[in-house]
Symmetry: C2
Amino acid sequence: MSNLELKLFYFRNKGRAEVARLLLAAAEQTYEDIRMTDEEWLKFKPSTPYGQIPMLEVNGAKFVQSLAINSFLAREFGFSGKNNLENFKIDEIIHLIEDYFAACVSNIFYPKTDDVRAAERKKLIEETGPRLLGFLEGNLQKSGTGFFVGDRMTLADVAVFDAVTGMLAEFLNVTEAYPLLQKNIEMVRSIPGIARHMATRPITPH
Amino acid sequence: MSNLELKLFYFRNKGRAEVARLLLAAAEQTYEDIRMTDEEWLKFKPSTPYGQIPMLEVNGAKFVQSLAINSFLAREFGFSGKNNLENFKIDEIIHLIEDYFAACVSNIFYPKTDDVRAAERKKLIEETGPRLLGFLEGNLQKSGTGFFVGDRMTLADVAVFDAVTGMLAEFLNVTEAYPLLQKNIEMVRSIPGIARHMATRPITPH
């Protein structure tokens, strides 16, 4: 818990705000979780610093960019690394996930022909996704603690958890070929604040 | 200076490695700046952890993802913020630049028709770019120190400098409409290590 007054602005869905919500849930931090309709967003947009959400307000100061928000919350609530190399590994993982996220967003939402969309989707599910999951499994093998970095949950674990349970769940198939990853995901799911959040969050397609 | 043994692997161009090179130059840090041809890269690729460069080797440990590399170097060499909110602002700026960078990379390199490429390019130069520059100018107005965050050069200043002098220089036109930004850029350019780097780096199109 922190005395910061926090307001998170986003749409109703998981999308680019869910890692922040999961971090806040894990920290059992009180905050305003403002979920806008498309109409409300269009009215609200001119009052934002860059015409973007997610946006996090911290004691009245407004910041955008999901990865910046997630790293801020991770540092604030003890989910960052203990030294520079640990933070390097966390950042490497979240940026590899981000690349995959961006490719999936393009596949789901951007205008393209049905053929191109289907071919992209097949590659994301059968090739790019398993490559990412294999890298993550290898990282858990190396760390040997059940966590990606050090011996406790960090932003890396939460970002991976969101990747496989959030907007990208339909793309990433964590089979028995990834036993350490399966255990890591269940570990994050069992954190009390996260378990409550998962049980109560709105059901949305993305 | 640090006793870390650092090797930076990338192509000959500026691209996604140049912010790291600028940070290392500003810190006057010794490192191996390994610049590969496309052919060398294809041979080297299987030995990398994720088939990607830039890659930074730190005392033998290999990490990928440019933004992770840049943040690691910023923390190592004193170019990160002094507190969590300062780091939040730095991260917001580097991720807004990254979005613009990704859009320009797509415009320069991705397959598309000449018409689409020209229309995109026009929008990047006349609309998206000025919006980014306006946001940056406003941030310098707010900080009042000549630097984006606090009273000394951070990763934010270096990333902005690279955006307007590196691969994106052809897209971003820092006119007299951005007087604080012009001063900020000259300040970074005058750092001795950076001035030397700029005078000696290979001339490349991107």
